[in-house]
Amino acid sequence: MTSTALRRFNPYWMLVLPVTAAVALLYIAPIINILFLSVTDPQPGLGNYQKLVESDTLIRLIWTTIRVCLITTFFAVSLGYLVAYTMMHALEGQRRWMLSILMISFWISVLVRTFSWLMLLGRTGLVNETLISVGVISDPIAFVRNEVGVLIGMVDYMIPYAVLPLLANMRGIDPRIMSASRSLGASNLQTFVRVYLPLTKPGVIAASLLVFISSLGFYITPAILGGGKVLMIAEYISVQLLVTVRWGTAAMLASIMLISVLLLMYILNRFMKLGTIFGGDVR
């Protein structure tokens, strides 16, 4: 019996043991601790979760978060589809350029990009100043410090997240299939609606889930571009932790988020292997 156990034991696991231990200690343990806090603080029980149906503030908070994330997902995926489609049909050299620009924006810090929007769209920002000096408007338009501002910032940030899975999906489609459709008498539009769109459905679903999941945790963008008027779950958690010190509520919200993200990731993985989303391995 000991011999089979010994044979099953692969000594190379020893090599990853320190890292595994570190992850367990520094990452998994705190997460479990949070899950634990949500049912123990301030007193043991499901009291924290009960607030979800009782507190108007919390209901409004979750509704705002879901609404903002859904709208962001819709626009980011629609615009991302256009970008990905254009990239697929561009010449090889142009495609490389477009991909570089996309990746650069992907890598720029969310803080920098959020402040850029503030400079562009603020009351005295570039867009309002230009429109006023041209005479199109007399009073500045409120682009920021409201939900529109949050949506603009989030959609902009999320487009690369939508483009990459869509590109991976579109690359896998044999262009001869579209030629076949044309040869069978379908116009360009018919070919797109009846053949291309259905074939990119897995990419659209993957992109939507990815964007939605990533949007759920947005903190900086709603805080800055929302001007305190658009309260999303991440910001609320931070307030609960740092200002009102109600760790139980914060832990409950964090747990809800964690569980929904894991659930969505599970669905996402069924549509597209996670590894292929960032274009590393298209096959």
Binding site: D174, R176, I177, S179, A180, S181, R182, S183, L184, G185, A186, S187, Q190, R194, V195, P198, L199
Partner: protein, 393 residues
């Protein structure tokens, strides 16, 4: 390059009749290509091709990769814009018509079936985009499934079918709307050898049952020979020769044509004598007599003779009666191919010669190093244009 139809020496009788009754006579449904050219930069992928595809015929474009055959097919289909020239069907120029307006069926390499649709939905697709009635569509789909013998598989998805079955779905789909012409781009490339022969027969059968014009692109000479009414051999964007399979095989016009369709021996000679019944050629001190009558040649001209390996006879030198066109040779190598033996010989008078003989007849009776006599009949050789030798005819 010599264009085709005037070069027809023999072929299926219907074309012979047609072409002798008037060279430029175009029937209803004939597809006429005039000076069709496609340039990619300075490279002529297709170089001013003139070709009339007869209504209802099975025409094969045969050539090595890069010969422009697929580009030509895609121009006919409408996916590649010609740089110059016209594509004419029933008197109107269709060169600028988009593919969906041409009503040509295309079977692509790799079939290009719609993976998200069932077999039935694939076949119904061309009818649906034409807004046919439901009842008409379901009737037609059934008809097409019967035609390609796939009844019972209508609700499967393409990925659940074998390569041969996918091939048939592609055929049914592109024939479902009754196309004017069916274009096939190396459709058998993905199939294994045995299946390929089977599908060849089915294709031929389908062609005769539907009566649709087939334009078939391949680099495989066996496919071309076994299925086609006419074959156009292509090289470097041009049609080298256009004729029926028999005529092409028996009377190649150039070294390239002789080599691409089958194998051939080439003997470079000088014309010594021309009379009413034929010509006499000389290479070294070997005199060759052939019953060839070809105008435009004079005594003293150089001529390259092409002789198919199976027309070379190998005789035992001891009982060698005096055959015409016979010379001594030594066997260098024998390769066994099951049905035939390929015997490589070296003849002092003409150099290397390959003979192909039935294996059952010759198995074991010859060996490398043996001295033999080789000869061929007076109608075995043809004069071909030598593309490599400049200044010769």
């Amino acid at each position: 390059m010599q264009e085709s139809e005037t070069g027809t020496r023999q072929g299926p009788s219907q074309y012979l009749k047609m072409e002798s009754s008037g060279k430029k006579y175009v029937r209803h449904g004939d597809l006429v290509l005039q000076g069709l050219t496609k340039k990619f930069g300075s490279f002529n992928a297709v170089d001013s091709i003139n070709l009339t595809v007869r209504n209802g015929e099975f025409l094969t474009l045969l050539g090595p990769s890069g010969s422009g055959k697929t580009t030509l097919l895609m121009m006919i289909a409408g996916f590649v814009d010609p740089t110059a020239g016209q594509i004419i069907l029933d008197g109107s120029d269709i060169s600028n018509l988009p593919p969906e307006k041409r009503n040509f069926g295309i079977v692509f390499q790799g079939y290009a079936l719609f993976p998200h649709m069932t077999v039935e939905e694939n076949i119904a697709y061309p009818l649906e985009v034409r807004h046919q009635s439901r009842s008409m569509i379901s009737e037609r789909v059934k008809e097409m499934l019967d035609l390609v013998q796939l009844h019972g598989l209508g609700s499967r998805y393409p990925r659940q079918l074998s390569g041969g079955q996918q091939q048939r779905v592609a055929l049914a789909r592109s024939l479902a709307f009754g196309p004017r012409i069916l274009l096939l781009d190396e459709p058998l490339g993905a199939l294994d050898r045995k299946l390929r022969v089977e599908v060849q027969n089915e294709l031929k059968d389908l062609h005769s049952r539907t009566g649709t014009t087939f334009i078939y692109v391949t680099h495989d000479q066996d496919e071309a020979l076994s299925m086609s009414d006419r074959i156009a051999i292509m090289d470097r964007g041009q049609i080298v020769q256009l004729d029926g399979p028999t005529a092409l095989y028996e009377n190649p016009v150039s070294v390239f044509a002789a080599n691409f369709l089958g194998k051939s021996n080439f003997v470079r000679t000088t014309i010594m004598d021309i009379d009413k019944t034929g010509m006499q050629f000389r290479t070294g001190d070997f005199l060759i007599r052939q019953k060839i009558r070809q105008s435009g040649l004079a005594i003293g001209n150089k001529a390259t003779l092409a002789i198919r390996p199976e027309k070379i006879r190998i005789l035992d030198p001891s009982k060698s009666e005096k055959f015409n066109n016979s010379t001594n040779a030594v066997i260098r190598r024998i390769s066994y191919f099951g049905n035939v033996l390929e015997i490589e010989l070296v003849a002092p008078s003409i150099g290397e010669i390959t003979a192909s003989v039935p294996a059952w007849q010759f198995q074991g009776s010859h060996s490398p190093g043996q001295s033999v006599t080789l000869c061929w009949d007076e109608d075995a050789a043809v004069i071909v244009r030598d593309d490599d030798a400049v200044g010769e005819t």
